[in-house]
Amino acid sequence: MKIFDFMKYKKLLFGISGVIIALGLVLMAVNGLNLGIDFTGGSSIQANIGKSFEISDIRAITDKFDKEAIVTYAGQNRDIALIKTKVALSVSQQGEVIQGFQDKFGIQQTNIQFETIGPTIGAELTKQALLALLLANLGVLIYISFRFEWKFGVAAIAALAHDILIMLVVYSITQIAINASFIAAILTIVGYSINDTIVVFDRIRENKRHLKKVEHKGLVNKSISETMARSINTSLTTLVTIFALYILGVPAIKDFALPLLVGILSGTYSSIFIASPIWVLLDKKHKLNGAH
């Protein structure tokens, strides 16, 4: 087994992640996040028109209710219209919009999907999302502290924070709407990344028992090298399945799959290059302080 000196590049690796996240945060400050109707309230309509159409045709139907409505094309043949309004359409307004589609394009209600979310739900969802993230991280921290030691727990959470930030950057750059599925995507990556990190930590824990005399650097380099093939192969198999979803999926699934793709890459990267070096920093510092 070849042992690669990862720790030598510790600063470079932290630097790369730092720069990506910093750039991302700047972009996020400029671009903002595209909060979807699940959070802001509003209506979204998907109409499978089945032939080419003009955005202006759609606007002619929707302008009456919301002049700021966002209309986009979807589908491989650009024959699907996606409409988002900031105004939550009432039941009868929805009826008028659907009637408009039926009159203009001759499509049936069976090819239309609409969703209206009131502002109350959005506020609740935001609260739920934050609480869910907090609890998931706390649960992970407690479990790792219990099974390993708290320094591993903190390092794992740092890697998770890294992944969550990267995913936020993806949402900001792509302007994919942040909806309920966003929570699912983030928590999936939290689950995936922590799984990855634990595999590396587990090896560190095991090697630590055998190699009492080896310093941190050697220990981490050896453990990472030994688990590298597994990390790469698992992310490959996972990426393959999500990529299939991304290529073949319907619009809602595409919006879910893209952040997941990036999240898995980030999760794999962070469990190798972020979590372990942070653990070393924590462990060294703690030992030095303890030596007094």
């Binding site: 039941v91 209206t116 998931a136 649960g139 995936y192 634990i198 095991e206 393959v240 979803l245 809602a252």
Partner: protein
């Protein structure tokens, strides 16, 4: 011993293939019929089409929302929906003041939504004094009919009604003092008909004109029969998916899943060779187990749920990957094949448990906080994690040991070394 192992191995493979065949195509022996597993799994409204409405009762300080009113509201909504003839509507109370209505496969969601959310307070109001004479509660029967239209040409849809004895008395008195004047009929304070009283109506029978179509008259009759909602309901969210659109989503996701699984199977076979073949068999079994569990706990499969399963397949091979990499390491140390497999599994075990439990924590949190389709995603992800641990630790191990004990596969190249 050697040939016995091979026979057992082949028998297991045959058995798994047989179950896979039944799961996909079903089985029909005489009067016993096993339907394909996909027909047993309940699909969410995002895949079969349908409408979901979340209503919240508006609290009024003078007339607070209570349990009894909510129960009556549910009953009223149920009666209105039943009149539409929707198959399997699900009406659930959520929390203290919310009601969720699910209408699967409905073709005309708009009409249903119009019916569900209306308070439908029917009032007969004396035009002169603005006094309420009768309300919907006084009506005993209501039905849609055709009646000769006012101008005497053809017929028009109307709602004919019959009042309770008490209501009939009130109505008789009111018509008597309003001859030649208007008694307006209002639904939620909107006038639907403003007829002029021609003569006294003593028997409590009458008609309400003003409906444009029979369908409209039918809906009005339904609203009157079911009565007004005891509380005003606000629509918090509405989701409606056309059945055609849902079917498309389902097909596309299944295709994506099939291709994803196929690629994973090929990857494992080419990279890990003999153990890869074993993990492929375990992966087929894994997929069968997940689908069977989903069918037997009557979980609802949603679009994110399918994504969860597909994602879990990618992750399910992880446990196998951890084990196989360990075995390779042990082989490199010069251990014999059997010893390497034993210690590979033993050492990988703790890693697999620890890494999967942490993932499970995230899935459980998601289940607890998620609503609707997101909950479905958390369910399939959790089932996936547990099943993958089982197939990797138990099935892969057993099959791999069987294969090795046939003594047919001694070349370490077969183990990816």
């Amino acid at each position: 011993m050697k040939s016995k192992s091979l026979i057992v191995f082949l028998a297991i493979v045959l058995l798994i293939s047989f179950f896979a065949y039944i799961a996909v195509y079903g089985l029909n022996i005489g009067k016993y019929e096993i339907v394909p597993v996909k027909n047993l799994i309940k699909l969410g409204l995002d895949l079969r089409g349908g409408a979901t409405v979340l209503l919240q009762a508006k609290d009024n300080p003078n007339d607070p929302v209570n349990d009894e009113k909510m129960a009556r509201a549910v009953a009223t909504i149920r009666e209105r929906i039943d009149a539409l003839g929707v198959a399997e509507p699900v009406i659930t109370r959520m929390g203290s003041d919310r009601i969720e209505v699910q209408l699967p496969e409905i073709q005309d969601p708009q009409r249903a939504l119009d019916l569900i959310g209306q308070t439908a307070q029917l009032e007969f109001i004396e035009e002169e004094t603005k006094q309420v004479i009768l309300t919907g509660n006084d009506i005993k029967k209501a039905s849609a009919e055709r009646a000769p239209s006012g101008n005497g040409v053809g017929e028009a849809p109307v709602v004919s009604f019959e009042l309770s004895p008490e209501g009939a008395k009130k109505f008789a008195a009111a018509t008597e003092r309003n001859i030649g004047k208007i008694i307006g009929i209002y639904l939620d304070e909107q006038p639907i008909s403003l007829p002029t009283v021609q003569n006294v109506i003593p028997d409590g029978k009458g008609i309400i004109t003003g409906s444009a179509t029979m369908e409209e008259a039918g809906d009005l009759a339904t609203l009157i029969r079911a009565g007004a909602l005891p509380v005003e309901m606000e629509t918090l969210s509405v989701t409606a998916v056309g059945p055609q659109l849902g079917a498309n989503s389902f097909e596309q996701s299944i295709t994506a899943g099939q291709i994803g699984i196929l690629l994973v199977l090929l990857f494992m076979l080419f990279y890990y060779r003999l153990p890869g073949l074993v993990s492929d068999i375990a992966l087929v079994l894994y997929t069968l187990i997940v689908l069977t569990i989903l069918a037997s706990i009557k979980a609802t499969l949603t679009l994110p749920g399918i994504a969860g399963i597909i994602l879990s397949i990618g992750m399910a091979v992880d446990a196998n990957v951890i084990i196989f990499e360990r075995i390779k390491e042990e082989l490199r140390f010069g251990k014999t094949l059997r010893a390497a497999i034993d210690s590979g599994f033993r050492r990988a075990f703790i890693t697999i448990i620890d890494s999967n439990i942490t993932t499970l924590i995230a899935a459980v949190v998601l289940f607890y906080f998620g609503t609707g389709p997101i909950k479905g995603f958390a369910v399939t992800l959790s089932i996936g994690i547990l099943s993958s641990m089982f197939t990797a630790i138990v099935i892969t191990r057993y099959l791999l040991k069987l294969l090795v004990s046939t003594n047919l596969f001694k070349n370490l190249k077969l183990f990816g070394l």
